[in-house]
Each structure stands twice: as C-alpha cells, then as structure tokens.
C-alpha cells in the first residue's frame, strides 16, 4: 500500500506517523512545498523575535524520517488525477497512490482592499511570509496590523519586540470579542495598551496608500484617519488552501468537503486539518477547524481509518489556549462570547487586573459548561472530566484547587475566587 500525503504540517505529519505505527509495512510519502522538514507553524513568531531559530522549531531531527521510512519530497503538487490515482508534482514527477491524504492547510485571507498588493503589505502564515516580514520590516519605524484575532496580536508582539511602533486595527468593540466575553476582552485591551501598542477599536482598514516606489506609505481607516506606516500586516483570518483541487473532481465548498471519517467524495482520497470542511458538522461545531489541536486529532482518527480501523472524528470536549503578549489563555468547554439564555456565569479578576477566571454553567441543573482562564493554568484532564460528568458548578468551585496548574509557590487564588463566588451567587458552599 502506498500512502501519499500532501502537506507536511501537523496534520499531514501526524497522519503519516500514526499510519507508520499502525501499519509498519506500508509505504508512506509526504509531499510538501513550503519546507523540506516538518516545523511548527505556531512558533513562527518566536523565530522573528529571536527566541528560537528555524531549526529549533522542527519537532524531529532530520534523520528521524528515514529511520521511520517516511519518504519526504520537497515539491509542489500541481494536479491530482483521482481517476488514475496519481498526483503530478511541479518537478515533473508523477506519484501513484493507493490512498491519498490532502492536508494542504490554509492561506491568509485578503479582502480586496485598495493597495493590498503594495510592497510592505502581507499576511503571516508560511515560512516564506516570515522571510518577507523580515525584509519588509528591516529598519522601519511604524507598522499597522489589521485584525483583532490570534495572529494579529502575534504580529503586533513581533513588531513591538523590534521596537517598531504598532497600530492594531480591530473591527470589533474589543479585542477578539467574537470569542472572548467582554471582561476578558477588556483585560486584554488594557494589556495591549500596556505594551504601548496603539489599539484602535471599532476601526477597519479602508485603503492602503503607496509612495512613489510602490511601497506602503500610510493607510486610511474606516474613520477616514490616516496613519503613517512602512508595513501593513494583514491578519484577518485564513481560508482553506484548495488550489490543488482544480478539475480533480474532489468536492469542495470553502474547504475540501469531508464526512465524519474525513473521506472526500472520491474513494481512497481523504482530507484533514485546516483545509477540510465537514459536510455535516455536529451541532455547534464549526465546519472548518483551523487549529493545531484539531489538525492533530483529525489526523489521529484518519490514520486509524486508513489502516482499517474505521474511526469517526469527534471534536470532543472543546479546549484551546493562546498567549496574548505576556498573558496566557486557556479555555475548556464551549465558552462563548455571549451567554445562552439558560446559562449563568461567574467572573473573577485579580486586583492587578492581569489574571481572570470564569466559569459558566447551566442554570437549570447548575452543571458545568466550562472555564476561561487568563494568566492562570488549569489541568485539562480534570476540566474535561468535570465537563463530561456535568459536575455541579458549586462543587467545582469547592474543588478548584485540585485542578490548579500554576507553578509551585505561585499564589493560589482559589480562596479569593471561592469568596467572590459566594458573595456573587449568595450561596453557601457545602464544604
């Protein structure tokens, strides 16, 4: 059996490695055009900031692939000939496959702004983008970043680390407020300002203005304000990278359409990770999942299916994490920006205003929905256990310390949280 994987990101590689474990005999080839070896996309910012070099972001040493008999081809797939089970590579080669996994990831969104193709305007997704950014930001003084999401704040942090003045344009009322409830979003707003980043809320990009050499000179905002800058970072989300599908007969919408087994409409062709779109997502699950974790989990399920243990992908208990400048964020359970009418919530923030804790629950049976934590760490396994077992929120608050994951000797805030919970909810904790 020859399995060909397109894309050596976390999805493609996790899939290949799991297939190798389950089926020592199969032949595995991974084709990818961005880099010869698998690296961690999530670490791109740290390369720019000088915390790490590219080689540090490679989770496996270069000899590892040969030893595990995974053939790496550093090339681009131009065309998929599903009828004959072949893929055509840019370098003229043709590969036959018995099973094909498409894990081609995403590309940054662009919304057709005037001036978006000027020099000094770019998104951040690939290694190539990072190199562009290195060149585009050399010696500049001011930059604009568009987008109040995870990559936007990363770009702002990157630029700030090089002493470049950043103006961060956020369309919403607060930073990332389509995900974060208002209190958390405001906490992050304050932290952004603390880093001397000029946070412009409810502001959109209208136009990018060129200088006489075709380089960005300034931008104009939706409020008709002009901001001088020599760089514009576009961080307004990503979309599935499905260029390679043309005329292959593989069905797509926004992404490559798959069922719960990550099967496309064509037998023996699968898609997973950022590029896949679920045809029938479960209630409340997004059809396209663009996360490191989901790519990994989808790939694990897919490897089983490919090796004959047909396994449906289940999103499971939601979790995610991020870091906003210096503040870590962890979330467990389905936490939304605004509450469901059946839900109640409790929020605590420390005196310095840099740590917060939120618990949301169902009002009816007081069962736990999930946690949001900023500047605090919590045990995932315990949070999941509580969420799955619908543990009453009051009991969770009593046992909070069990899940605390902050480093040893850190201040334990559980008492503060319990006290506030008592006074907010007028309840007695049955200790």
């Amino acid at each position: 059996m020859h399995i060909v994987v397109i894309g050596n990101g976390i999805t493609g590689i996790t899939c290949a490695l799991n297939i190798r474990k389950l089926d020592p005999g199969s032949e595995i080839t991974v084709v990818s055009s961005e880099s010869e070896h698998f690296f961690s996309r999530t670490a791109l910012m740290y390369i720019y900031m000088g915390h790490m070099k590219y080689e540090h972001t490679k989770p496996y040493e270069d000899w590892f692939w040969k030893k595990n008999r995974i053939t790496l081809i550093h090339s681009h797939v131009n065309f998929i000939g599903a009828e004959f089970k072949v893929v055509n590579l840019e370098n003229g080669r043709m590969l036959h496959y018995s099973k094909l996994v498409i894990a081609s990831g995403s590309v940054p969104n662009r919304f057709g702004w005037p001036g978006q193709d000027l020099q000094g305007v770019q998104g951040l997704y690939s290694l190539q983008n990072l190199n562009e950014m290195e060149i585009n930001t050399r010696g500049i003084r001011e930059a604009v970043v568009v987008g109040g999401g995870l990559i936007g704040i990363e770009m702002a942090e990157m630029l700030t680390s090089r002493n470049i003045k950043v103006h961060l344009l956020v369309r919403e009322k607060n930073y990332w407020s389509n995900i974060l409830p208002e209190e958390e979003a405001r906490l992050i707003n304050r932290h952004i300002c603390e880093h001397h980043i000029n946070l412009l809320l409810e502001t959109e990009l209208k136009e990018i203005i060129s200088d006489e050499f075709g380089k960005v000179k300034s931008i104009i905002t939706s409020h008709e304000n002009s901001i001088d800058c020599q760089f514009v970072g576009l961080a307004v989300g990503v979309k599935p990278n499905i260029d390679l599908l043309n005329n292959s007969g593989i069905e797509s919408n926004r992404g490559i359409l798959v069922n719960e087994y990550l099967e496309t409409n064509i037998p023996q062709v699968y898609a997973a990770g950022d590029c896949a779109e679920f045809k029938y997502p479960e209630l409340n699950d997004p059809p396209v999942e663009q996360l490191w974790y989901t790519g990994k989990m989808q790939a694990e399920a897919l490897a089983k299916t490919i090796c004959g243990q047909k396994t449906a992908y289940r999103r499971g208990t939601w979790f995610n994490s991020a870091k906003f400048l210096d503040i870590e964020y962890q979330t467990y359970g389905r936490m939304t920006a605004s509450l469901d009418e059946n839900q109640g919530t409790f929020y605590w923030e420390n005196r310095g205003g840099k740590k917060s804790f939120r618990v949301t629950f169902n009002k009816q049976d007081r069962s736990l929905v999930g946690f949001n934590l900023l500047g605090l760490r919590f045990r995932q396994a315990l949070a999941e256990e509580w969420i799955i077992n619908k543990k009453p929120v009051d009991q969770c608050i009593i046992e909070l310390a069990k899940g605390w994951f902050d480093p040893e000797f850190s201040k334990l805030f559980t008492k503060d949280i319990q006290n506030k919970f008592l006074s907010d909810t007028n309840l007695k904790l049955a200790v």
Binding site: E36, A43, Y293, T317, E328, Q380
Partner: protein
Amino acid sequence: MSDQISLSIAEPGKSHPLQKTGTTLIAMAILSVFIALFGPGKQHPFIFFWLIICLTISGTVIYSLPLFKGPAGIKNNGIMHQKLTNRGAVAWGIAILITGFYILLYWFPYLLEGLIRVMDPLSLLLKGKEANQWFMYGFFYTLAILVMGFRFIVKYRHVRYQVIRTISVMFFQLGFAFLIPAFLEKLNEPEFYFSYFWPLKYTYLFPSDVGNLISSGNIGFFMIFWGAVMTFIATPILTYKYGKRWYCSWVCGCGGLAETAGDPYRHLSDKSLRAWKIERWMVYPILTFITLTTVLLWLNSWKGGAILGGISGTFAGWYGFFIGSIFSGVIGTGFYPIMGARVWCRFGCPMAALLGIIQRFKSKFRITTNGAQCISCGNCSTYCEMGIDVRAYAQKGQNVIRASCVGCGICASVCPRGVLKLENLAEEGRFEKYKRPEDVKG
C-alpha cells in the same frame, strides 16, 4: 534546500543602549582585573578591590535594566540574534578569557599574583590570613552568582518558583561555600564545605580526608558525620521526595553558577539524540569510577596498603586532574558561551549521575504535561540547559521524567501555553500518558 530560507535571516539583534553601557562597565571591570594582574593590584589592593566590585555590580545592574522595562514576562527577544548569546565573536572572546583564567588558576597561579593580592584585605578580615588563589577564585565565583542571580530574579520576577530557587542558590553559595569555610579557617578548623558531598566532593569520603578530619577533634567528627548522613541518608530521601532539583538547582554551587551566570547561554545545550547517548556514556562511567576508587582506597587503608598499593591513590590523583580540574573548570565553565552552562552537570558530575538514577527510578518528581495543550513550538526544548528534548514528551501528552533533569523549571516558564508543571505527586502513575476521554471510551 528551503530549510535554509529562514536561516538566511540577517542579524537584526541590536542591543539596547543600556545593555551597551552595562557591557562597557563589565568590560572595564575585566580591564581592571588585567591591570591589577600586572602589578598595581599589589600596591593598591583596596582601590582595585572596590573598583572591580563596583564596576561589576553596576555593570550587571545596568545591563539588566532593560529586563525591567515593560510588564514582566518571558524576555528572550533577540537571544538568537545577538553575538553575545549566539556564539558570536563576543561569545568566543569570553570563552577564551574564562578558559585562560582557569588554566592560570590551576597550573600557573603565580601569574595571578597581582589579582590575588587584591583580595588580601578581605581575606584577612574573613580568614585572618592572606589570600591565596582559591580564595580569589571563590570570591569571583560568589560575586558572579550574586550579581547574575540578581539579573535572573529580575528577568523571571513573575515566576515565584524561579525567584525563591535563585535566592536559595545565592544563599548557599555566599554562606555555605564562601563565608563559612572562611570562618572555619579563621577559627583554625579544617576548611569544610557543608553544601558539597560525596561523590561530587569525592575526597570527603576518602580515608585520607576522613583521617584528617578525625584528627581535628569534635568538629571534625561532626563534619564526617554530616558528610556521611548527607550522602547516604538525606540525598536519597530528598531526591525521592523532590527530585534531584533540591540539590542541583537549589543548593549546589556549580549548578548555582550555571543557573545565574549561565542563564544567557542555556539554549546552547545540544538537544540531539546523539548528545544524549554521549551523556550516558560519560556520566555513569564517571560515577562508577569514583565509587570504585573510593571503595578501593578504603580496602587499601584497611589492609594497610596491601591491595593495589599506591595505585588507587594514583587513580584518585588522575581523577582530580581530568575530572576535577579540566572538566568541571576549564570546559565546564570556560565553554559556557559556546556549549551552554550545564556541560559539567550533564556530562561529568557524578553527583548528578547518582541523583539522576534515583530521580528516574524512585521519586515522586515529574514534570507534568497538561493534556493535549502542547503546540510543539519548541521553546521548552530550546531553553532546557540539560539538552532534554522536553517537547518530544509534551507533544505526546507524556510527563517528562528524565535522569538528567535538574528541575530548573525554565521549560515550564518559557512555555507559551502553560503546558508544563514541575511537581511532586504520588509515585504511582507518573509515567502515565494523557488520553482524551473520547479516545478512552473508544
């Protein structure tokens, strides 16, 4: 090879003006050391003593000020860009300087005469006699731990584990490894380091040292008792409860220097599998060797020199030369800016080897990996001074349990997702891997 693309990034690492000022002051301190060396130190010990101290302290403090700038958090910006921390010319210069210093110290101390005399006033005060090269060395060693410890505390001020641990190494170095031994000498008692034990300070359990201590009466008895209790009772118990960190990154002076003065260099350790193999092939044989030597020496003295005669003594002598001097000093410290700070601790220290065996097989200590939160970014592995590929465990949801881990906690501090936690929990289940509840149910 496109792997090269991002390596082509030219160096954008410009140091902060304050960092430059600090570096200049430290360079002036080094210059004063040189001037003192060539004679003037002898004539004006006071002037040079204070000159060196003030320049070093002010230099380091000013160098650390940019770390104060802005909110507390991980400040590793530019580490991979700056010459000082990225094996640039400056780093090599420092390595050569320190290595040269060790060579003079061990084999040509008379060339350091000018500098040794600078220490006389302090030595007279503390020990009641003139300084020798070891007092001078101890002084600079302690100074380095104190000033760079200060810098470390500033840098990691948002993590209490780091702050407390660093205060601890500073305390043990200043008190147990510098002041107390000096006072003991003043009181005409044997020089003794209460914070070093066999097998690191291997001679403490050699018949010759034990004999000498016995001859110095009650206090000598106490020292022997202390040494034996620490080696045979306290070490296993403490390591069982807390892992080897209780010693390696809380007490030990070698570890203390690596943690403080070596902090800017911790990312230089080799993370390859090959390096791990070399580590195991070096550190355990060294432990075996020193254990055998100790046993032989005792057998020998028991039999009145009948077993192997002087050979075991020669053994010990060679060990002292190659391991004690060349390895732990010249390479271990001199190569900080090139190979990272824990080269000795990782490849050479018999104490670390012993503690490591206990930590790996019989301890409550582990670094817990928090579920599936790892994003494989690599910060933890990059900044692990012991060259442990922490990420390899974390990304699989496995706890990190490794003999070599000194429990510095830096991996947990630099992790941008809060994935790692050093902790002592029940021994059972510490090797268990995280599984998603969805997968457990099948």
